[in-house]
Structures are given as C-alpha cells and as structure tokens.
C-alpha cells in the first residue's frame, strides 16, 4: 500500500540528498535486528527512488498493487490514539442487550 516515498517519509519533490538523509534516518530508527522486514522494505524503497532515474522509472512504470483489505484499513482507521470505548457509548451498549439474541445462545444442555 505504501509508496517508497511514504515508507521513507519524503515528498515526491524530494531531492537525492533529502531521500538519502531520510533513508539513513529510517535505517537508524529501524535496524534489521529489530524488524528485518521493515528494514528490507526501507532498503527497497530507497533503491527505487534514490536517484532521478529511479524516481522517473517509478513514476512511469510502477503499477500500484493495493490490496482491498489495505483500503479497508484506511477507510476504517482509528482516528487518534486507541482508547477504550467512551463511557456514554458503553452505557448505551448495555441497553442493546436483547432477550432474543441471548436466547439464541442459550442452548439445551445434554441430559
């Protein structure tokens, strides 16, 4: 889902130097021993856009491969930090318990 620009956290107008600096910082923040997958991702992103040729090639020939699930992640993303359900909503939820739904799970015990 993430483009190499997003992975390195640079804009599409970034220069070679900006990209290299962002790459070095990203590698420093994500050493391979911590998360080898992320590290590889950063390396690949840098290889892709490190120079003008690479960036042009990416712009011309890159076919986006966005998974539908990744789109759903984006559409139903958490806004802000994760917190428990707000108290008002939680209390509202308590009143949504219905006897019919409860009974669907109230099954006969083997005699």
């Amino acid at each position: 889902m993430n483009s190499p620009y997003q992975i390195l956290g640079v804009s599409e107008q970034a220069t070679d130097a900006d990209i290299k600096q962002a790459y070095l910082q990203a590698v420093k923040d994500n050493p391979p021993e911590r998360d080898s997958r992320r590290f590889r991702q950063i390396q690949q992103a840098f290889d892709m856009i490190k120079d003008e040729d690479g960036r042009l090639r990416y712009a011309l020939f890159h076919v986006p491969n966005v998974e539908f699930d990744a789109l759903l992640d984006r559409a139903f993303a958490q806004n802000g930090p994760i917190r428990p359900l707000p108290a008002g909503d939680f209390l509202k939820l308590l009143s949504t318990v219905s006897i019919d739904k409860m009974l669907a799970k109230f099954k006969q015990k083997p005699s």
Binding site: N79, S95, D100
Partner: protein
C-alpha cells in the same frame, strides 16, 4: 375362539403401536412419537410411556425455541411439566422463553416460586441472563426474584459501579466491582468494566481480557462491540459482522464514522465474503471519498488487470484526460495481460507524445525505450537500447546490456567491438568496460592494446587483481609471440614488465619459466633447459604436473618437447596425490582460459594420460576431488578421460551425478546420441537426484534430458504447435498399452526394468528379445520394430511384468499389433 383371536389381535396392535412409537422416538421424530405415546397411554397408564411422552414434549419445546418460537416452546414445556416427574428439567429455559414471549407475568410467577439456592446454584446461567436483562432496563423483575438470592444483592453493587463509571470515578468503580464474588452472575460485566477502566498504556491487554468472556455469555455481543471499537480494517469488519444493527451504530458513533463510512460498512456486511473483483472495483469507485481519492485510484488502477472492463469507469471517475497518461496506463495494462504487442504500440504512442517536448522529455523517452528493451527479444532489444542512447547517452547500463547481448545472446564480434569503442569513449575510466576491452583485445591477439587497457584499469584501480592478471597474461602472451617470431631483443623487456607487476608468487614463476624458454631458444640451450627444469620443480611438486606444464608452455611457443621431457624426472609411473590432482585441475583451467583452441591442452593431457588413469584408482576415496576433475574435463570436453573417471566413480558410488558424467562422456557431450536406454537411465537418475535433494545434479541431468528431447524433436514451437494436444491423437503407445495399470503396479514394473537395465546393456537386451520372441514373429519384422525405442520400452515393461509374475493383460502380440498399426493416425493436410 373368536375372543381369543380378538385378544391376540389387540395385543399385536398394541405391540405394533409401541414399536412404531419407539422407532419415532429413537429417530427424533418427537411429534409422531407424541401422538403414539398419547394413544398408548389411553390403552394403559404405563410409567415408561409417560416418561417418553414427557421427553417428547420437552424435546419439541427446545426445537421450537431454537426456531425462535418462544410462545410455542412455553406451551410444549408446560405439557412436559404435566407428564414429567420432578425435578422438572429446563425450568431456567422456560423462564427465559416466557420473557422472550413477553409473558413477563407468568415468568415472574415462576421466579417467585424459585428458592434462592435454586437460582444461585442450580441455574447460574439463568441468573447471568437475568442480570443482563436488569442492565438492559428490565428492573421490574427485581421485585420477583427470590429475596435471599445473590442476584439482587450483586445488582446493588453493579449499580454503584456503573454510577461511579458514569461519573468517571475510577477508584469507586473498582471498589464496587471488588465486592462482586468470582462466580457472580455479573462476572462478565465486571470484565467488561475492567477493560473500560484500562489506561492507554495497558490497553493492549484488552483483546485478551475480552476473549475470556465465553461465547454463550449474554455479554459476548458487548465484548465484541468493545473489541470492534479497538480494531481497524478487515478485523474490524469481521467483528462488526457479528453485531446487531444497534450495537454497530453505537460503535460507529464512538469511532466518529461519517454516514458514508456507515453506508460502506453496511454494504460490506451485506455482501460478506461474496465480493468479486468487479464489486470491489465499483465499491471503491463509489466510496472513493471514504478511501481517499489517491488510494482509490491506485487500487482501481491495479485492479484493472483482473477487471479490464472497468477501464471506462476508471477513466470517467479519475478524469483521465491526458493522452500520455492514458497510453501509459494502457501500455501497463497490456503488459500485465502479457500482451507485449499492444503494450509496445501504446509505449510508442507515449514516445510520440513525449517527442513533442524535446529535449525536456528526452530522459522519459530513453527510459521507456529501455523498459521496452527489457521485455523485447534480443534482436529488438539491441535496437531499442541503441535508440535510447540517442536520447540519453550517459546510461552506462545500456552500454553494458548492449555489450552483453552482442557477446552472449546474439554474438556479433563486429558490433561488440563497435559498441565497446563507443562505450569507452563515453566512460573511459569505467572498470567493467576496461576489463571487457582488455579481454577482447587479448582474444584478438592484440596484446599491446590489451596491455594499454589493463594499464588504464590499474590506473583507475591500482589494486585490481584482475587487471594485474590481465596485464601479466598479456605481457606473457606478447613475450611468447615475440619469442616465436624470434624477436629476442624485445622478449626480455616483456618478461621484465610481467615480473615487475606485484602479482602472486606462482605467476612470477611463470615469468621465470618463460625466461628459461627464452634462454633455451635464444641464448644457451643447456642453461635454458636447467632453468626450465628448476622453475618447473619450484612450481610443481610432482613430475606429472611438471610434464603437463612443460608440454603446455612448449606448445604455446611451438617448440619441440622431446628434449624437455628428457630433462624432467620420469613421470609415467608416478601416482598423483589428491593435492597434486587439485593442482593439475587448476593448471588446466588456467591454460584453458588463455587458449582459443583446446588441441594443445588435449595433447598435453594425452601425454600424461597413463599416470593420470593409474592415479585415479588410488584416489577413489576422494569423491569431491574426482567430481571436480570430471567437472573440469566436461568443461574442456575431454571425454576419454571423463569416461574413465566417471565409470569408476559410478561403479564405486552409484550416484546420479556419476551416471550423469558417464552418460555425457559416452555420448561425447552430444545429447542427440543418447539412446532410449540412456534416456531412461537418466530419467531415473533425475528422479533419484530430486529424491536425495541433490538439486544441482537434478538441474544438470534435467538440462541434458531436455537437450536430448529437443534433438529428437527439433521443431519445438512454443506457441501454436503446443495447442495440438498430443493426447488428442492418442499416439503414446506406452500409454495406450499400459495406461490401464494402477500406479502401484507400474511403479513395481518400473523398478524392475531399472534393475534389468542395470544388469544388461541395450544390445544384450535386444538379443534376448529376439531369442525369446523371435519364433512368434517374423525376425525381420521384429528387427524393424526393435529400432523403435518405444517398442523396446514396451517389451521391457512386458518382460519385467512376466518376471514379477504380474498379469498385465497385455501380450507380446498386443504390443506388436499396436506398433505395426502405428502408421500415422492422422493425415497431413497436403498429402
């Protein structure tokens, strides 16, 4: 008499009725069983019949409840209660069914009849459900609960906890929850509230805590709602799918979803897992605002590969008006669909558009041309790459690619030189290009030029070992040429130049050896001979390697070797050690790199053939070394020595790799010479190599088999001819004859044929065939048939099956008939 008959008949009737009732009861047909047991009870008040009837009512009550028909379930339970004995079952369910059927009055009456112990101990699940209903607002129930029951007491603490939670009094809430005993009917609510009280740092524990609430708990939907609130993406949707509409709305509200997000969610939940490519594509287009236009466009662009019909919608939604962008997208889509012809057409359109903005878009044009070259055949690729350099002449990789194609894929020495020269003009200090130039010059015997390139290479990279070796080899080659041309006054200078290079000891001694030859030829024969012998002794520990090297060096100088051989120690009876054979392999490889024609190498090897062959017998414990020896011999195509070594190795180790080398040696590297038996053996070896995880050998054998098959069928068109399914013509006689046999039987037969082949050779096998079957068929006909490898294969299967005493239902005559009928099964169109 009549009475007796009537009595017997009534008895029989009763027996039949009982049998029927029992049969229905045992088969779970409780409705039918109910009627029959009722009938039976009319006839006799049997306790067992009563018990069965009660159970039928109870089972039917559960069945109704499962269907959500709670009122009917209540009636049936009451019927059960009329016939059943105390203690009655499912009283807890009866209360809940009454509540679900809105018959609260009756439900409360039943609850009033409960003792506190009954609700607390016998019906804890009912208590949990009643607790959940209290939370949902059915507080009028409280007055009807048994007075001493734990539920109303716990409800007070729950009320206090909720009040504290509502007011944000965390500690008071926790304190109130602590009052609830472990087995309280509100224990799952306690878990939920504990999750709600977690701070941000501990929130990661929430999913595990929520998972502890059992599936059957009335609080499970609430736990799922809390979980959904914490989730995103696919997990969120999966959890939301299990919630009721009201609960989903609460979660969506809490998450701050827009109405569009809510609509998308509801649509996704309706479709569940039935979304196909088209539906997904259209959903993304419809809700691009929710997904974000950029992400939606990226998704749709990628999805066009699987749903090309969406192209027009894509254009419309993403306002694709730029003709370049349109052609670029079409080209990429064609590439994804493996339609290289159309892709090229669209890329060319892109180039035409870009050409209008030259020179600003030159780089883009060059990149597109290079991209096209990557996907094109070599003949087109060279043209595209050359074109690309017209727009961007500084792309080193394009020059290297062109050189690589002209060197390996479409060898063209003239073009290669031309492009090498152009590349060097553009990148005079490029090490890769200088190495190529030096090697190329050396191969053309332009030693001076090669030396110039190697020197330039050393200037760029002073420690470049390859450059030094190249320079050394070129000085040496030049010195040899001067020596051959008898320009003795120049030889010394070349040897000195070679010696001055800081190369390794063994290379310097090569120079020393050449100096010996120079002395021998130009100055003093005796002194020269001594120097040659002394240097060869320093270079080698054994007479065989010495002899090999002297033969090579003298051969390179086109000098007679008789005097030299005499001056060196006797070698014919010498047995090489493992390190000495290793050295010989290295020397062979060194000289092979310098020679265009291997005849000199073969001559030198032939000279030491006798001690070599004898030595190998002593080196049979060194499998790896012998395999290196075979590999080196295969590379230089010395099949006589290869056969000798591989045969010994195969006898000793019986491994696929040895069979491979033996086969290569026997067919002298020409796979078209392989007969059916050899191919059969190779196929088995290939399978064995796979089974032993010896992938390297499997690849070698696989390649040889492929070559052999290619040689048998040179017209291997990849495209059109593949469409003709071979099976459609039914021309696989082995399949025709033995296709009916189970795999296990064929496996045994195949193993037997393998054993047979290990014990015999093709000629002997054919002789055996003629003697065994010659009387049953005209020998001339048999002779003709035996030329057909498939016929031999079929006979082998027959012989193997006979040996194994397996009746395969195919006789010798069947095989003959199948092969004699093997005239073309179809007519060619023009004949």
């Amino acid at each position: 008499m009549k009475k007796i008959i009537q009595k017997i008949s009534a008895g029989l009737n009763e027996l039949t009725l009982l049998q029927k009732a029992r049969a229905h009861y045992e088969a779970g047909r409780y409705k039918e069983a109910t009627d029959l047991f009722k009938e039976l009870l009319k006839q006799s008040n049997d306790a067992e019949h009563k018990r069965c009837l009660a159970d039928c009512y109870l089972q039917r009550a559960w069945a109704m409840a499962d269907k959500g028909m709670h009122k009917e379930a209540c009636v049936l339970w009451e019927n059960y209660a009329a016939y059943g004995e105390a203690p009655l079952q499912a009283q807890d369910a009866y209360v809940l069914w009454l509540l679900a059927g809105k018959n609260n009055h009756k439900a409360y009456a039943v609850l009033e009849g409960f003792e506190a112990r009954q609700l607390d101990e016998d019906y804890p699940e009912l208590a949990a459900h009643l607790g959940a209903l209290l939370l949902a607002g059915c507080t009028d129930m409280l007055a009807h609960l048994p007075k001493d029951s734990a539920l109303p007491r716990h409800w007070e603490w729950v009320g206090e906890a909720l009040d504290a939670y509502r007011n944000g009094e965390r500690e008071r809430c926790e304190q109130a929850l602590k009052n609830l005993p472990f087995r309280s009917a509100f224990r799952d609510l306690r878990t939920l509230l504990k999750v709600q009280l977690l701070d941000a740092a501990s929130l990661e524990q929430a999913p595990a805590m929520l998972a502890k609430i059992p599936e059957a708990s009335p609080y499970r939907p609430l736990a799922d709602s809390c979980l959904a609130y914490l989730q995103t993406g696919e997990d969120f949707i999966a959890t939301m799918a299990g919630l009721e509409h009201l609960q989903r709305r609460v979660v969506a509200h809490a998450k701050g979803f827009s109405s569009k997000q809510m609509n998308l969610l509801e649509t996704l939940l309706k479709q569940k897992n039935q979304l196909n490519d088209k539906m997904r594509f259209n959903l993304v287009l419809q809700y691009q605002e929710v997904f974000g236009t950029h992400a939606a466009q990226a998704y749709c662009q990628g999805a066009l590969a699987n749903y090309p019909a969406g192209y027009n919608d894509y254009r419309k939604h993403f306002a694709l008006k730029d003709p370049f962008e349109e052609s670029r997208l079409q080209a990429l889509l064609c590439e994804q669909g493996k339609n290289s012809y159309d892709a090229r057409f669209y890329w060319e359109r892109c180039i035409d558009i870009l050409k209008k903005n030259r020179p600003a878009d030159d780089k883009k044009i060059a990149l597109i041309l290079r991209h096209m070259a990557e996907l094109a055949h070599y003949d087109d690729a060279v043209e595209l790459l050359a074109d690309s350099l017209e727009y961007d002449a500084d792309d080193r990789q394009s020059y290297l690619s062109l050189l690589s194609i002209y060197e390996q894929n479409r060898p063209d020495p003239v073009k290669y030189e031309e492009w090498l020269e152009r590349s060097l003009k553009r990148f005079p200090a490029d090490t890769d290009l200088l190495v190529r130039a030096a090697k190329s010059a050396a191969s053309r015997k332009a030693f001076k030029k090669a030396v110039t390139y190697a020197k330039a290479l050393l200037k760029v990279d002073p420690v470049n070992t390859l450059a030094k070796q190249l320079l050394f080899a070129n000085h040496m080659a030049h010195a040899r040429r001067l020596l051959k041309a008898e320009k003795f006054h120049l030889v010394e200078k070349e040897i000195q130049a070679a010696e001055q290079l800081s190369v390794d000891k063994s290379l310097r001694r090569q120079a020393e050896l050449l100096r010996g030859f120079y002395l021998w030829q130009a100055e003093d024969k005796k002194q020269g001979l001594q120097q040659i012998a002394a240097t060869l002794a320093k270079l080698n520990d054994d007479p065989v390697n010495m002899q090999f090297q002297v033969q090579m060096e003298a051969g390179l100088l086109e000098l007679p070797t008789a005097a030299l051989t005499r001056a060196l120690p006797a070698f014919k009876d010498y047995l090489l050690s493992a390190p000495e054979l290793q050295r010989l392999i290295a020397a062979m490889e060194y000289y092979d790199e310098q020679l265009d024609d291997r005849s000199l190498l073969f001559k030198a090897l032939d000279k030491i053939k006798a001690p070599l062959k004898k030595s190998l017998q002593w080196l049979l414990d060194h499998e790896t070394l012998l395999l290196s020896w075979c590999q080196a011999l295969e590379k230089i195509a010395h099949f006589e020595l290869l056969k000798h070594c591989a045969k010994m190795g195969n006898v000793r180790w019986r491994k696929p790799i040895w069979l491979y080398y033996q086969t290569v040696a026997e067919c002298q590297g020409d796979s078209s010479r392989l007969d059916f038996m050899a191919l059969f053996r190779l196929q088995n070896a290939f399978e064995d190599a796979h089974a032993e995880n010896d992938h390297k050998t499997a690849v070698l054998i696989g390649r040889l088999i492929e070559q052999a098959r290619g040689a048998m069928n040179p017209f291997q068109y990849e495209d059109d001819f593949d469409e003709f399914d071979e099976e459609a013509f039914g021309d696989d006689p082995i399949e025709d004859l033995f296709g009916h046999l189970p795999e296990s039987v064929m496996g045994r037969i195949a193993k037997k044929t393998q054993d047979m082949m290990a014990k015999t050779d093709p000629d002997r096998f054919m002789a055996k065939c003629i003697s065994q079957y010659g009387k049953r068929i005209d020998p001339q006909r048999l002779g003709i048939l035996l030329v057909n490898p498939d016929f031999v294969g079929a006979i082998m299967v027959l012989v193997a099956a006979e040996d194994l005493k397996i009746d395969i239902g195919v006789s010798f005559e069947d095989i003959v008939e199948r092969f004699e009928d093997d005239s073309p099964q179809f007519r060619l169109p023009f004949f």
